[in-house]
Amino acid sequence: MRIAASLAALMLATTLLVGCIGDEESDLGGSNPYLFTWTAPEGPGDAAAGLLLGRMDVRNGCIYWLSDNGSEFLPLWPDGALLSTEEGTVVVSVDGTAVAEGQDSSLSGGERTRDQAEALLGESLPSVCNPADGYWVATGIESDAS
Protein backbone atom coordinates (compact mmCIF):
# COMPACT_ATOMS: atom_id res chain seq x y z
CA MET A 1 0.00 0.00 0.00
CA ARG A 2 1.10 3.51 -0.53
CA ILE A 3 -0.13 6.89 0.51
CA ALA A 4 0.88 9.61 -1.89
CA ALA A 5 0.74 13.20 -0.83
CA SER A 6 2.63 16.33 -1.43
CA LEU A 7 1.25 19.21 0.56
CA ALA A 8 4.52 20.29 2.08
CA ALA A 9 3.15 22.09 5.09
CA LEU A 10 0.83 19.29 5.98
CA MET A 11 3.57 16.75 5.53
CA LEU A 12 5.59 18.60 8.09
CA ALA A 13 2.63 18.55 10.42
CA THR A 14 2.30 14.82 10.33
CA THR A 15 4.68 11.95 10.39
CA LEU A 16 2.07 9.47 9.31
CA LEU A 17 2.39 9.87 5.59
CA VAL A 18 4.68 7.56 3.79
CA GLY A 19 5.26 9.39 0.56
CA CYS A 20 4.29 12.08 -1.85
CA ILE A 21 3.45 12.35 -5.47
CA GLY A 22 6.59 12.59 -7.52
CA ASP A 23 7.29 15.09 -10.23
CA GLU A 24 6.49 12.52 -12.85
CA GLU A 25 2.96 12.19 -11.49
CA SER A 26 2.01 15.77 -10.79
CA ASP A 27 2.53 19.26 -11.95
CA LEU A 28 1.33 20.78 -8.69
CA GLY A 29 4.74 21.49 -7.29
CA GLY A 30 4.75 21.76 -3.53
CA SER A 31 1.06 22.46 -2.96
CA ASN A 32 -0.50 19.13 -3.80
CA PRO A 33 -3.44 17.95 -1.75
CA TYR A 34 -3.23 14.48 -0.27
CA LEU A 35 -3.99 11.69 -2.70
CA PHE A 36 -4.39 8.43 -0.84
CA THR A 37 -3.93 5.36 -3.01
CA TRP A 38 -4.36 1.66 -2.42
CA THR A 39 -2.85 -1.27 -4.25
CA ALA A 40 -5.01 -4.18 -5.30
CA PRO A 41 -4.19 -7.45 -3.56
CA GLU A 42 -3.20 -10.49 -5.56
CA GLY A 43 -6.21 -12.39 -6.82
CA PRO A 44 -9.05 -12.25 -9.30
CA GLY A 45 -9.72 -8.57 -8.74
CA ASP A 46 -13.02 -8.68 -6.91
CA ALA A 47 -14.11 -5.24 -5.81
CA ALA A 48 -17.15 -3.56 -4.38
CA ALA A 49 -19.58 -2.60 -7.12
CA GLY A 50 -21.10 0.46 -5.52
CA LEU A 51 -21.27 3.88 -7.13
CA LEU A 52 -20.89 7.22 -5.41
CA LEU A 53 -22.53 10.05 -7.33
CA GLY A 54 -21.25 13.55 -6.68
CA ARG A 55 -18.22 15.74 -7.20
CA MET A 56 -14.70 16.26 -5.98
CA ASP A 57 -14.05 18.98 -3.42
CA VAL A 58 -10.52 19.96 -2.38
CA ARG A 59 -10.32 21.57 1.03
CA ASN A 60 -7.52 22.10 3.51
CA GLY A 61 -5.23 19.96 1.45
CA CYS A 62 -7.62 17.02 1.35
CA ILE A 63 -9.55 15.62 -1.60
CA TYR A 64 -13.12 14.93 -0.53
CA TRP A 65 -16.08 13.63 -2.48
CA LEU A 66 -19.41 15.34 -1.86
CA SER A 67 -22.25 13.01 -2.76
CA ASP A 68 -25.48 14.10 -4.39
CA ASN A 69 -27.17 13.10 -1.14
CA GLY A 70 -25.06 15.52 0.86
CA SER A 71 -22.59 13.05 2.36
CA GLU A 72 -18.86 13.74 2.52
CA PHE A 73 -16.39 10.95 1.82
CA LEU A 74 -12.62 10.76 1.51
CA PRO A 75 -11.78 8.71 -1.58
CA LEU A 76 -9.00 6.14 -1.48
CA TRP A 77 -7.83 6.06 -5.07
CA PRO A 78 -6.56 2.99 -6.92
CA ASP A 79 -2.84 2.74 -7.39
CA GLY A 80 -1.88 4.65 -10.50
CA ALA A 81 -4.26 7.53 -9.92
CA LEU A 82 -2.70 10.75 -11.12
CA LEU A 83 -3.04 14.21 -9.63
CA SER A 84 -2.67 17.33 -11.72
CA THR A 85 -4.08 20.82 -12.20
CA GLU A 86 -5.75 22.41 -15.16
CA GLU A 87 -5.93 26.18 -14.95
CA GLY A 88 -5.68 25.97 -11.20
CA THR A 89 -8.30 23.26 -10.79
CA VAL A 90 -7.32 19.96 -9.23
CA VAL A 91 -7.80 16.97 -11.53
CA VAL A 92 -7.52 13.27 -10.66
CA SER A 93 -7.36 10.66 -13.36
CA VAL A 94 -7.65 6.89 -13.12
CA ASP A 95 -6.88 4.66 -16.08
CA GLY A 96 -7.25 7.59 -18.44
CA THR A 97 -10.55 8.83 -17.04
CA ALA A 98 -10.23 12.18 -15.31
CA VAL A 99 -12.42 14.18 -12.98
CA ALA A 100 -11.92 17.83 -12.09
CA GLU A 101 -12.84 19.48 -8.83
CA GLY A 102 -16.51 20.45 -8.84
CA GLN A 103 -17.37 18.34 -11.85
CA ASP A 104 -20.38 16.02 -11.54
CA SER A 105 -19.07 12.50 -11.76
CA SER A 106 -19.14 9.18 -9.95
CA LEU A 107 -16.73 6.82 -8.29
CA SER A 108 -17.19 3.09 -8.40
CA GLY A 109 -16.22 1.16 -5.29
CA GLY A 110 -17.55 0.99 -1.78
CA GLU A 111 -17.69 2.63 1.62
CA ARG A 112 -15.18 1.98 4.38
CA THR A 113 -14.76 3.05 7.96
CA ARG A 114 -11.64 4.93 8.97
CA ASP A 115 -10.17 1.80 10.56
CA GLN A 116 -10.89 -0.21 7.42
CA ALA A 117 -9.42 2.54 5.26
CA GLU A 118 -6.24 2.64 7.29
CA ALA A 119 -6.03 -1.15 7.21
CA LEU A 120 -6.32 -1.02 3.43
CA LEU A 121 -3.67 1.67 3.17
CA GLY A 122 -1.45 0.07 5.75
CA GLU A 123 -0.91 3.45 7.33
CA SER A 124 -2.74 5.92 9.51
CA LEU A 125 -4.57 8.75 7.83
CA PRO A 126 -3.67 12.30 8.82
CA SER A 127 -6.14 13.82 11.22
CA VAL A 128 -6.54 16.88 9.00
CA CYS A 129 -8.40 14.76 6.45
CA ASN A 130 -11.48 13.86 8.41
CA PRO A 131 -14.60 13.36 6.27
CA ALA A 132 -17.98 13.79 7.85
CA ASP A 133 -19.49 10.53 6.64
CA GLY A 134 -16.88 7.96 5.67
CA TYR A 135 -14.22 6.73 3.31
CA TRP A 136 -14.67 5.38 -0.19
CA VAL A 137 -12.41 2.78 -1.72
CA ALA A 138 -12.60 3.95 -5.30
CA THR A 139 -12.04 1.42 -8.05
CA GLY A 140 -12.53 3.86 -10.90
CA ILE A 141 -14.04 7.05 -12.21
CA GLU A 142 -17.23 6.39 -14.12
CA SER A 143 -17.26 9.46 -16.34
CA ASP A 144 -14.68 11.23 -18.45
CA ALA A 145 -13.73 14.75 -17.53
CA SER A 146 -12.25 15.47 -20.90
Binding site: W38, A40, P41, G43, P44, G45, D46, A47, A48, A49, G50, L51, L52, L53, S67, D68, N69, G70, S71, F73, S106, L107, S108, G109, G110, E111, R112, Q116, A119, L120, D133, V137, T139, G140, E142
Partner: protein, 395 residues
Protein backbone atom coordinates in the same frame (compact mmCIF):
# COMPACT_ATOMS: atom_id res chain seq x y z
CA UNK B 1 -45.33 82.69 25.15
CA UNK B 2 -48.90 83.90 24.74
CA UNK B 3 -48.95 82.66 21.23
CA UNK B 4 -47.77 79.21 22.35
CA UNK B 5 -50.52 78.98 25.01
CA UNK B 6 -53.16 79.88 22.46
CA UNK B 7 -51.82 77.26 20.12
CA UNK B 8 -51.97 74.57 22.86
CA UNK B 9 -55.58 75.50 23.64
CA UNK B 10 -56.57 75.33 20.01
CA UNK B 11 -54.96 71.91 19.73
CA UNK B 12 -56.85 70.64 22.79
CA UNK B 13 -60.15 71.86 21.39
CA UNK B 14 -59.45 70.23 18.08
CA UNK B 15 -58.67 66.87 19.70
CA UNK B 16 -61.85 67.04 21.79
CA UNK B 17 -63.91 67.85 18.71
CA UNK B 18 -62.46 64.95 16.74
CA UNK B 19 -63.10 62.57 19.65
CA UNK B 20 -66.73 63.74 19.95
CA UNK B 21 -67.35 63.25 16.26
CA UNK B 22 -65.81 59.80 16.33
CA UNK B 23 -67.88 58.64 19.28
CA UNK B 24 -71.06 60.04 17.75
CA UNK B 25 -70.37 58.25 14.51
CA UNK B 26 -69.73 54.94 16.28
CA UNK B 27 -72.94 55.20 18.27
CA UNK B 28 -74.90 56.03 15.20
CA UNK B 29 -73.49 53.06 13.33
CA UNK B 30 -74.47 50.65 16.11
CA UNK B 31 -77.96 51.98 16.16
CA UNK B 32 -78.35 51.59 12.44
CA UNK B 33 -77.67 47.83 12.51
CA UNK B 34 -75.07 45.39 11.27
CA UNK B 35 -75.50 45.97 7.56
CA UNK B 36 -74.09 49.44 7.75
CA UNK B 37 -70.51 48.34 8.30
CA UNK B 38 -68.26 46.88 10.96
CA UNK B 39 -69.63 47.21 14.46
CA UNK B 40 -68.01 47.18 17.85
CA UNK B 41 -67.72 43.82 19.62
CA UNK B 42 -70.92 42.89 21.43
CA UNK B 43 -73.03 45.41 19.62
CA UNK B 44 -74.88 42.81 17.48
CA UNK B 45 -77.68 40.60 18.74
CA UNK B 46 -78.59 37.58 16.65
CA UNK B 47 -82.36 37.43 16.35
CA UNK B 48 -82.40 33.69 15.49
CA UNK B 49 -80.41 30.70 16.75
CA UNK B 50 -78.34 29.40 13.85
CA UNK B 51 -77.08 26.47 15.92
CA UNK B 52 -80.59 25.31 16.66
CA UNK B 53 -81.58 25.70 13.01
CA UNK B 54 -78.57 23.66 11.95
CA UNK B 55 -79.36 20.91 14.47
CA UNK B 56 -82.99 20.80 13.35
CA UNK B 57 -81.97 20.37 9.74
CA UNK B 58 -79.24 17.84 10.49
CA UNK B 59 -81.45 15.53 12.53
CA UNK B 60 -84.82 16.25 10.94
CA UNK B 61 -86.55 17.55 14.06
CA UNK B 62 -88.47 20.68 14.85
CA UNK B 63 -86.73 23.51 16.67
CA UNK B 64 -88.83 22.64 19.72
CA UNK B 65 -87.70 19.00 19.66
CA UNK B 66 -84.12 20.13 19.10
CA UNK B 67 -84.31 22.31 22.18
CA UNK B 68 -85.77 19.41 24.19
CA UNK B 69 -82.93 17.10 23.13
CA UNK B 70 -80.40 19.73 24.12
CA UNK B 71 -81.99 19.98 27.53
CA UNK B 72 -81.78 16.21 27.96
CA UNK B 73 -78.14 16.32 26.89
CA UNK B 74 -77.42 18.92 29.54
CA UNK B 75 -79.08 16.77 32.17
CA UNK B 76 -77.06 13.76 31.02
CA UNK B 77 -73.84 15.62 31.88
CA UNK B 78 -74.71 15.30 35.54
CA UNK B 79 -75.34 11.59 35.05
CA UNK B 80 -71.98 11.18 33.34
CA UNK B 81 -70.17 12.96 36.15
CA UNK B 82 -71.94 10.83 38.73
CA UNK B 83 -71.15 7.55 36.97
CA UNK B 84 -67.51 8.51 36.43
CA UNK B 85 -67.05 9.07 40.13
CA UNK B 86 -69.39 6.56 41.72
CA UNK B 87 -69.57 3.71 39.20
CA UNK B 88 -66.09 3.84 37.66
CA UNK B 89 -65.65 0.05 37.84
CA UNK B 90 -68.70 -0.64 35.67
CA UNK B 91 -69.19 2.58 33.70
CA UNK B 92 -68.04 2.01 30.10
CA UNK B 93 -68.80 5.43 28.67
CA UNK B 94 -71.71 7.52 27.48
CA UNK B 95 -72.81 8.64 24.04
CA UNK B 96 -75.84 9.92 22.18
CA UNK B 97 -77.90 7.93 19.73
CA UNK B 98 -80.07 9.68 17.16
CA UNK B 99 -81.55 6.65 15.47
CA UNK B 100 -84.18 5.30 15.65
CA UNK B 101 -84.91 7.96 18.22
CA UNK B 102 -82.93 10.25 20.42
CA UNK B 103 -81.44 8.55 23.47
CA UNK B 104 -78.62 8.85 25.95
CA UNK B 105 -76.78 5.53 25.99
CA UNK B 106 -74.67 4.37 28.90
CA UNK B 107 -72.16 1.56 28.43
CA UNK B 108 -72.18 -0.83 31.36
CA UNK B 109 -70.08 -3.83 32.27
CA UNK B 110 -71.93 -7.03 33.15
CA UNK B 111 -73.18 -6.84 36.73
CA UNK B 112 -73.27 -3.07 36.86
CA UNK B 113 -76.72 -2.52 35.40
CA UNK B 114 -78.56 -2.27 38.69
CA UNK B 115 -76.40 0.43 40.22
CA UNK B 116 -76.38 2.46 37.00
CA UNK B 117 -80.16 2.24 36.69
CA UNK B 118 -80.48 3.49 40.24
CA UNK B 119 -78.40 6.55 39.44
CA UNK B 120 -80.38 7.18 36.25
CA UNK B 121 -83.60 6.97 38.18
CA UNK B 122 -82.30 9.21 40.91
CA UNK B 123 -81.56 11.91 38.33
CA UNK B 124 -84.96 11.54 36.63
CA UNK B 125 -83.59 10.42 33.28
CA UNK B 126 -85.25 7.02 32.98
CA UNK B 127 -87.24 8.00 29.91
CA UNK B 128 -84.17 9.04 27.95
CA UNK B 129 -81.42 6.68 29.00
CA UNK B 130 -80.83 3.14 27.85
CA UNK B 131 -78.00 0.82 28.77
CA UNK B 132 -75.61 -1.02 26.42
CA UNK B 133 -73.40 -3.94 27.50
CA UNK B 134 -69.66 -3.48 27.11
CA UNK B 135 -66.53 -5.47 27.96
CA UNK B 136 -64.21 -2.72 29.18
CA UNK B 137 -64.82 0.08 31.62
CA UNK B 138 -63.90 3.60 30.61
CA UNK B 139 -61.15 3.49 33.22
CA UNK B 140 -59.77 0.33 31.62
CA UNK B 141 -59.86 1.91 28.16
CA UNK B 142 -57.84 4.86 29.40
CA UNK B 143 -55.37 2.49 31.06
CA UNK B 144 -54.97 0.58 27.79
CA UNK B 145 -54.42 3.81 25.95
CA UNK B 146 -51.76 4.83 28.45
CA UNK B 147 -49.96 1.49 28.00
CA UNK B 148 -49.64 1.75 24.21
CA UNK B 149 -46.12 3.13 24.45
CA UNK B 150 -45.09 -0.13 26.10
CA UNK B 151 -46.84 -2.29 23.52
CA UNK B 152 -45.75 -0.56 20.33
CA UNK B 153 -42.22 0.10 19.04
CA UNK B 154 -40.80 3.46 19.98
CA UNK B 155 -40.05 4.19 16.33
CA UNK B 156 -43.69 3.84 15.31
CA UNK B 157 -45.45 7.12 14.57
CA UNK B 158 -49.02 6.83 15.78
CA UNK B 159 -51.83 8.59 17.60
CA UNK B 160 -54.67 7.10 19.63
CA UNK B 161 -58.15 7.79 20.88
CA UNK B 162 -61.09 6.17 22.64
CA UNK B 163 -64.39 5.38 20.97
CA UNK B 164 -66.80 5.01 23.87
CA UNK B 165 -69.71 3.86 21.74
CA UNK B 166 -67.62 1.02 20.30
CA UNK B 167 -65.79 0.36 23.55
CA UNK B 168 -62.41 0.53 21.81
CA UNK B 169 -59.04 2.20 22.02
CA UNK B 170 -58.22 3.16 18.46
CA UNK B 171 -54.56 3.34 17.36
CA UNK B 172 -53.94 5.28 14.18
CA UNK B 173 -50.60 4.40 12.60
CA UNK B 174 -49.30 7.28 10.49
CA UNK B 175 -46.80 5.38 8.39
CA UNK B 176 -48.00 2.94 5.82
CA UNK B 177 -48.09 -0.65 7.09
CA UNK B 178 -49.79 -3.58 5.47
CA UNK B 179 -52.71 -5.29 7.19
CA UNK B 180 -50.49 -8.24 8.06
CA UNK B 181 -47.93 -5.95 9.62
CA UNK B 182 -50.63 -4.21 11.62
CA UNK B 183 -51.96 -7.57 12.73
CA UNK B 184 -48.51 -8.59 13.94
CA UNK B 185 -48.68 -6.17 16.86
CA UNK B 186 -49.70 -8.02 19.98
CA UNK B 187 -52.35 -5.72 21.39
CA UNK B 188 -54.95 -6.53 24.06
CA UNK B 189 -58.61 -7.09 23.32
CA UNK B 190 -60.22 -3.69 23.18
CA UNK B 191 -57.46 -2.05 21.11
CA UNK B 192 -57.97 -1.63 17.37
CA UNK B 193 -55.08 -0.57 15.15
CA UNK B 194 -55.33 0.86 11.66
CA UNK B 195 -53.40 2.92 9.14
CA UNK B 196 -54.42 6.53 9.07
CA UNK B 197 -51.97 8.78 7.37
CA UNK B 198 -51.00 9.93 3.95
CA UNK B 199 -53.00 8.25 1.21
CA UNK B 200 -51.82 4.79 0.33
CA UNK B 201 -48.76 5.61 -1.74
CA UNK B 202 -49.03 5.61 -5.48
CA UNK B 203 -45.29 5.18 -5.87
CA UNK B 204 -43.58 1.96 -4.88
CA UNK B 205 -39.93 1.19 -4.25
CA UNK B 206 -38.66 -2.37 -4.60
CA UNK B 207 -35.75 -4.47 -5.74
CA UNK B 208 -33.96 -3.59 -8.95
CA UNK B 209 -34.75 0.12 -8.88
CA UNK B 210 -32.03 2.77 -8.98
CA UNK B 211 -31.48 4.60 -5.71
CA UNK B 212 -30.09 8.09 -5.32
CA UNK B 213 -26.98 6.74 -3.60
CA UNK B 214 -25.80 5.31 -6.90
CA UNK B 215 -26.65 1.71 -6.06
CA UNK B 216 -29.51 -0.68 -6.79
CA UNK B 217 -32.31 -1.68 -4.45
CA UNK B 218 -32.26 -5.38 -3.58
CA UNK B 219 -35.47 -6.70 -2.10
CA UNK B 220 -38.40 -5.43 -0.16
CA UNK B 221 -37.91 -6.60 3.39
CA UNK B 222 -39.71 -6.73 6.68
CA UNK B 223 -38.24 -6.66 10.13
CA UNK B 224 -37.99 -10.10 11.67
CA UNK B 225 -40.15 -8.80 14.51
CA UNK B 226 -42.69 -7.69 11.92
CA UNK B 227 -42.76 -4.05 12.95
CA UNK B 228 -41.48 -2.21 9.90
CA UNK B 229 -40.85 -2.82 6.23
CA UNK B 230 -38.41 -1.35 3.75
CA UNK B 231 -35.87 -2.11 1.04
CA UNK B 232 -32.26 -3.28 1.03
CA UNK B 233 -29.18 -2.36 -0.90
CA UNK B 234 -25.52 -3.28 -0.50
CA UNK B 235 -23.94 -2.36 2.80
CA UNK B 236 -20.96 -0.63 1.20
CA UNK B 237 -23.21 1.87 -0.59
CA UNK B 238 -23.80 5.35 0.77
CA UNK B 239 -26.17 5.25 3.72
CA UNK B 240 -27.99 8.43 2.76
CA UNK B 241 -30.36 7.68 -0.08
CA UNK B 242 -33.78 8.36 -1.53
CA UNK B 243 -36.13 7.18 -4.25
CA UNK B 244 -38.40 9.38 -6.34
CA UNK B 245 -37.47 12.31 -4.12
CA UNK B 246 -38.55 10.50 -0.96
CA UNK B 247 -35.90 10.06 1.69
CA UNK B 248 -35.30 6.44 2.69
CA UNK B 249 -34.15 6.53 6.30
CA UNK B 250 -31.22 4.19 7.04
CA UNK B 251 -32.17 1.63 9.64
CA UNK B 252 -29.31 -0.87 9.88
CA UNK B 253 -26.56 -2.44 7.85
CA UNK B 254 -22.93 -3.48 7.67
CA UNK B 255 -20.16 -4.48 5.32
CA UNK B 256 -17.91 -6.84 7.20
CA UNK B 257 -17.65 -10.59 7.76
CA UNK B 258 -20.49 -12.31 5.90
CA UNK B 259 -22.50 -9.12 5.54
CA UNK B 260 -22.74 -6.54 2.81
CA UNK B 261 -26.25 -5.22 3.18
CA UNK B 262 -28.17 -2.29 4.61
CA UNK B 263 -31.87 -1.59 4.82
CA UNK B 264 -34.01 1.50 4.76
CA UNK B 265 -37.59 2.23 5.66
CA UNK B 266 -39.77 3.73 2.95
CA UNK B 267 -42.02 6.47 4.37
CA UNK B 268 -44.65 7.70 1.91
CA UNK B 269 -43.77 4.90 -0.51
CA UNK B 270 -45.12 1.39 -0.96
CA UNK B 271 -42.63 -1.46 -0.79
CA UNK B 272 -44.33 -4.48 -2.39
CA UNK B 273 -42.56 -7.80 -2.63
CA UNK B 274 -41.51 -7.55 -6.24
CA UNK B 275 -38.36 -6.89 -8.24
CA UNK B 276 -37.62 -5.11 -11.48
CA UNK B 277 -36.27 -7.46 -14.14
CA UNK B 278 -36.18 -5.42 -17.35
CA UNK B 279 -34.95 -2.02 -18.40
CA UNK B 280 -38.50 -1.25 -19.48
CA UNK B 281 -39.70 -1.76 -15.92
CA UNK B 282 -41.32 -5.20 -15.93
CA UNK B 283 -41.46 -6.75 -12.49
CA UNK B 284 -41.79 -10.14 -10.82
CA UNK B 285 -43.36 -11.04 -7.54
CA UNK B 286 -40.98 -12.50 -4.97
CA UNK B 287 -42.67 -15.40 -3.23
CA UNK B 288 -39.88 -17.51 -1.77
CA UNK B 289 -36.45 -17.32 -0.14
CA UNK B 290 -33.56 -19.68 -0.86
CA UNK B 291 -31.04 -20.04 1.98
CA UNK B 292 -27.36 -20.50 1.17
CA UNK B 293 -27.16 -24.01 2.58
CA UNK B 294 -29.63 -25.13 -0.10
CA UNK B 295 -27.68 -23.62 -3.01
CA UNK B 296 -26.31 -26.14 -5.50
CA UNK B 297 -23.16 -25.43 -7.43
CA UNK B 298 -23.81 -24.66 -11.10
CA UNK B 299 -27.48 -23.94 -10.59
CA UNK B 300 -29.06 -21.15 -12.62
CA UNK B 301 -29.71 -17.66 -11.22
CA UNK B 302 -30.39 -14.23 -12.67
CA UNK B 303 -29.76 -10.72 -11.41
CA UNK B 304 -30.76 -7.13 -12.11
CA UNK B 305 -28.56 -4.09 -11.55
CA UNK B 306 -28.80 -0.49 -12.68
CA UNK B 307 -25.55 -0.68 -14.66
CA UNK B 308 -25.55 -4.09 -16.34
CA UNK B 309 -29.33 -4.69 -16.11
CA UNK B 310 -30.71 -8.23 -16.45
CA UNK B 311 -28.41 -11.18 -16.97
CA UNK B 312 -28.21 -14.76 -15.86
CA UNK B 313 -25.47 -17.17 -14.94
CA UNK B 314 -24.59 -20.08 -12.71
CA UNK B 315 -23.44 -20.42 -9.13
CA UNK B 316 -19.74 -21.05 -9.61
CA UNK B 317 -18.40 -20.99 -6.05
CA UNK B 318 -20.59 -21.31 -2.96
CA UNK B 319 -17.83 -20.51 -0.47
CA UNK B 320 -16.04 -17.48 -1.83
CA UNK B 321 -13.98 -15.34 0.54
CA UNK B 322 -13.65 -11.91 -1.11
CA UNK B 323 -10.70 -9.56 -0.97
CA UNK B 324 -10.68 -6.51 1.28
CA UNK B 325 -11.48 -4.37 -1.74
CA UNK B 326 -14.81 -6.15 -1.86
CA UNK B 327 -15.65 -6.80 1.79
CA UNK B 328 -13.23 -6.10 4.66
CA UNK B 329 -12.57 -8.95 7.11
CA UNK B 330 -14.82 -11.13 5.02
CA UNK B 331 -15.75 -14.75 5.54
CA UNK B 332 -16.18 -17.45 2.88
CA UNK B 333 -19.94 -17.04 2.82
CA UNK B 334 -20.20 -15.13 -0.46
CA UNK B 335 -21.26 -16.70 -3.71
CA UNK B 336 -19.56 -16.23 -7.06
CA UNK B 337 -21.65 -16.24 -10.22
CA UNK B 338 -20.28 -16.89 -13.71
CA UNK B 339 -22.30 -15.45 -16.59
CA UNK B 340 -23.96 -17.65 -19.16
CA UNK B 341 -22.09 -17.71 -22.48
CA UNK B 342 -24.40 -15.18 -24.09
CA UNK B 343 -24.55 -12.93 -21.04
CA UNK B 344 -22.40 -9.87 -20.65
CA UNK B 345 -20.60 -8.47 -17.66
CA UNK B 346 -22.55 -9.52 -14.58
CA UNK B 347 -21.68 -6.47 -12.45
CA UNK B 348 -20.28 -2.98 -12.72
CA UNK B 349 -20.25 0.06 -10.51
CA UNK B 350 -23.82 0.83 -9.42
CA UNK B 351 -25.09 -2.75 -9.53
CA UNK B 352 -24.33 -3.29 -5.86
CA UNK B 353 -27.41 -4.21 -3.92
CA UNK B 354 -29.29 -5.54 -6.92
CA UNK B 355 -31.39 -8.68 -6.50
CA UNK B 356 -30.17 -12.19 -7.36
CA UNK B 357 -33.09 -14.51 -7.98
CA UNK B 358 -34.47 -17.51 -9.85
CA UNK B 359 -37.71 -18.20 -11.70
CA UNK B 360 -41.01 -16.35 -11.99
CA UNK B 361 -42.49 -15.78 -9.42
CA UNK B 362 -39.02 -15.18 -8.10
CA UNK B 363 -37.19 -16.95 -5.35
CA UNK B 364 -34.77 -14.58 -3.61
CA UNK B 365 -31.16 -15.76 -3.49
CA UNK B 366 -29.22 -12.71 -2.41
CA UNK B 367 -27.98 -9.20 -3.14
CA UNK B 368 -25.17 -8.31 -5.52
CA UNK B 369 -22.13 -6.80 -3.91
CA UNK B 370 -18.95 -7.12 -5.97
CA UNK B 371 -17.64 -7.20 -9.52
CA UNK B 372 -14.46 -8.73 -10.89
CA UNK B 373 -11.94 -6.68 -12.80
CA UNK B 374 -10.33 -9.72 -14.38
CA UNK B 375 -13.50 -11.30 -15.81
CA UNK B 376 -17.28 -10.88 -16.00
CA UNK B 377 -18.16 -12.73 -12.78
CA UNK B 378 -19.89 -11.21 -9.79
CA UNK B 379 -20.38 -11.91 -6.10
CA UNK B 380 -23.51 -11.80 -4.00
CA UNK B 381 -24.40 -12.08 -0.35
CA UNK B 382 -26.97 -14.81 0.39
CA UNK B 383 -30.27 -13.35 1.52
CA UNK B 384 -30.52 -15.57 4.58
CA UNK B 385 -27.90 -13.42 6.37
CA UNK B 386 -30.25 -10.44 6.35
CA UNK B 387 -31.63 -11.33 9.81
CA UNK B 388 -28.19 -10.27 11.10
CA UNK B 389 -29.43 -6.72 10.53
CA UNK B 390 -32.95 -7.53 11.67
CA UNK B 391 -34.80 -8.07 8.38
CA UNK B 392 -35.85 -10.78 5.96
CA UNK B 393 -36.97 -10.72 2.36
CA UNK B 394 -40.68 -9.99 2.20
CA UNK B 395 -42.57 -12.75 0.39
Amino acid sequence: MLSRRMGMAALAISIAAIAFIALSTAAGTAAEGPDEGPADEGSQTESSNADLDDYSKAYGVTPEEARRQWTITDEARELQASLRSDARDVFAGMWLDYEPEFAVVVGVLPGGEESVRATVKELGLVDWVRLAPRDHSLVDLHAMQDSLSELLPASLDYSSGIDQSEGLVNVYVHEYLSDSQLASFELPNGVAISFEGPPVPAVDVYGGLSLSNGCTAGFSVEETNGFQSGVTTAGHCENSTSYNGQNLPWENGNWIGRLDVQWHTTPNLGDPNKIRVTQQGATRVVDDRMPAHQFIEDEHVCKYGRATLYDCGTLDDLSFDPSDICVPSSTDDFVRVTPNPQAGDMAEGGDSGGPVFHDNPATAYGVMNCEFTSNQDMLFMPQNFMPDIGVQVDI
